[in-house]
């Protein structure tokens, strides 16, 4: 278990920078504000943002596994 005798300090972990990617993608609205290419009749604007729900999880997963292995 952890050594509780000395206070553990929280060190910055570069892998956490991955968590910023969804912010860049979603707040950069002009990058996806269009109709084409549509997917199965759904305009790009809608399916692209829906796809980012999955991509958002995809960037959190490596961070999660790294953190769980290195507490």
């Amino acid at each position: 278990m952890n050594d509780n005798s000395k206070p553990r300090r929280r060190r910055f972990r570069p892998i956490h920078l991955l968590l910023l990617i969804p912010y860049v993608a979603m707040l950069w609205v002009p990058s996806y504000n269009r109709v084409e290419p549509s997917l199965a009749g759904i305009p790009f604007f809608y399916w692209y943002q829906m796809a980012w729900i999955l991509l958002g999880v995809a960037v959190m997963l490596p961070v999660y596994f790294y953190d769980e292995r290195n507490p």
Binding site: R8, Y23, M26, L27, V29, N33, V35, P43, W52, I53
Partner: protein
């Protein structure tokens, strides 16, 4: 009145009521302790927390209001999707720290943490009152969600009662009184258990809707072809204005920053059994965002189905406006037995957040007002008793609000709620990382944020929260919560620097760095 749909609806509602009372015995604990009543004993694992937070954050009102905006205004309503994408990286990175310090110090609310971190009761009081004020209209809006579902079933809201006369909103009254009673007796365990049923109903409804309705309407291509081409995507920027796209991004970001400051969200997170549960939930909660995205598209489907011009729905649209779009679409597309299930999903979807919100308000009042200012030496049993009574009062208040005042008033106040709750961000979130901010500076920053945010909303007559900012000859439409938060942070940081330089008072911090990891 649709007998089949109403029967199924009533049966599901009764099932949920039974669960609400049975919940008191679930993972049995001493319900005369605030930690047990108000946080479920902090024993919820990954799965229960997932259901609880899913039921808590993705409320009935969300499921009515988001497609209603899509129905009325098109693409701009879809901001709910990026909003719920951006929430989770923050939850992942920031909230395990809050969970740990709250656990280490035996806190119950975010205001408890602020009290300990900055050693200032006034700042904690400001955080607590902000939370309560922002949540009250949110509870009232859950009732609107339920009202739309009940009215959609064709159940008359004004029921003649022998001896009393016609009682307005009687079905709503009954539903809410039942909710109030089992929340009183079971605490947070009730919404946690009910959330399992709610989410099962919700997912079944959403999956059925996105399979059945597009096929009835001839596919997504035809659905989007029926939408107004002008609102299919956002209006592009012009030489003098960043336009709708800036509004969209600022709404998504501002809503993201506000969400987990709401007391009901904090309560849901703090009831989990470990910081690992918090992290795991940040990774698995986006499943609900997917459901939300599909529900948002129901608004576009309602346009394509042409429900607004159908005579049988004219009365509903007259009373509820665009909020009637999804109920009308369900009534139009589903067989009546499934309408019963879908409407039960909406109504039960209102019960879960309403219960958690009232519990969260009760926790805040008890810990940060009652124990701090009225009865500092109160025993744990007394604390729990006060919280239970406050949860009743809060719900009755919300009920009176909806029955007595026009719905638009609650919608406007909820809009203001997002603007004011975000002003607690410097104290709560920045506070998780530093104790060098001065509590009085934070209080002044909070005041500036509330004043400027409310002023902007008032300028817009509380109809919208997008306030145009003019900068270097360019108009930037920005969510008022975000711009007022920027002012708040600037004032808090600048004044902290001045106060610390002049007063040189050491931070009075009851927490240690080891409490956060």
């Amino acid at each position: 009145m649709n007998t089949v749909a109403v029967s199924i609806f009533v049966v599901l509602f009764l099932l949920v009521t039974v669960l609400g009372f049975v919940a008191a015995r679930w993972r049995r604990g001493d319900l005369n302790d605030l930690n047990e009543w108000g946080l479920g004993g902090r024993r919820f694992g990954t799965i229960v927390t997932w259901f609880l937070l899913g039921g808590d954050l993705y409320t009935a009102y969300t499921f009515i209001a988001v497609p209603a905006v899509m129905f009325g205004a098109g693409a701009s309503g879809f901001f709910a999707v990026p909003y719920t994408i951006l929430v989770y990286p923050i939850v992942y990175a920031v909230y395990p720290r809050l969970w740990s310090v709250v656990q280490a110090k035996g806190y119950v609310t975010a205001a408890d943490f602020v009290r300990g971190r900055f050693g200032n009761g006034t700042l904690a009081l400001a955080v607590a009152i902000t939370g309560i004020v922002a949540t009250m209209p949110y509870i009232a809006l859950q009732l609107v969600g339920m009202e739309v579902a009940i009215a959609g079933l064709g159940i008359s809201m004004d029921v003649p009662v022998p001896g009393i006369g016609v009682v307005h909103d009687l079905p709503l009254l009954i539903a809410f009184v039942v909710l109030a009673v089992y929340t009183y007796s079971s605490g947070l365990r009730a919404p946690a258990l009910i959330a399992l049923v709610k989410d099962a109903l919700l997912y079944v409804t959403v999956i059925a809707a996105v399979i059945i309705i597009p096929s009835e309407l001839g596919g997504f291509g035809k659905i989007f072809a029926a939408a107004d081409p002008k609102t299919l995507v956002l209006a592009p920027a012009t030489a003098t204005s960043l336009g709708q796209q800036a509004a969209y991004a600022s709404l998504a970001l501002g809503s993201t920053l506000a969400l987990f400051l709401y007391p009901h969200a904090v309560t849901g997170l703090l009831s989990s059994s470990s910081r690992h549960v918090v992290r795991r939930n940040a990774v698995i909660l986006p499943a609900y965002s997917f459901a939300l995205g599909l529900i948002a598209l129901l608004g576009t489907m309602a346009v394509a189905a042409g429900v607004k011009s159908m005579p049988q729905f004219a009365a509903g649209f007259k009373v509820f406006g665009n909020q009637y779009a999804v109920p009308a679409l369900f009534l139009h597309s589903f067989p009546s037995w499934f309408v019963g299930i879908a409407f039960a999903a909406i109504a039960v979807g209102a019960l879960v957040p309403a219960a958690i919100m009232s519990i969260a308000c009760a926790n805040l009042f008890t810990r940060n007002i009652y124990r701090e200012y009225i009865d500092p030496n109160c025993k744990p049993a007394r604390e729990a008793q006060v919280a239970k009574i406050v949860s009743l009062v809060v719900k009755l208040g919300a009920l009176a609000f909806i029955v007595e005042l026009p719905t638009t008033f609650a919608i406007q106040l909820q809009l203001l709620g997002g603007i004011i709750i975000i002003q607690t961000l410097p104290s709560v979130i920045l506070g998780l990382y530093t104790n060098r901010l001065n509590p009085w500076a934070l209080l002044v920053g909070w005041g500036c944020g509330i004043a400027s945010g409310t002023w902007m909303a008032a300028q817009l007559a509380f109809k919208t929260s997008i306030y145009p900012i003019h900068l270097f000859g360019v108009t930037i439409p920005c969510y008022a919560a975000l711009s007022s938060l920027a002012l708040n942070i600037a004032v808090s940081v600048a004044l902290s620097w001045v106060f610390n330089a002049v007063l040189r008072t050491p931070p009075s911090d009851a927490t240690a760095e080891a409490d956060y990891v």
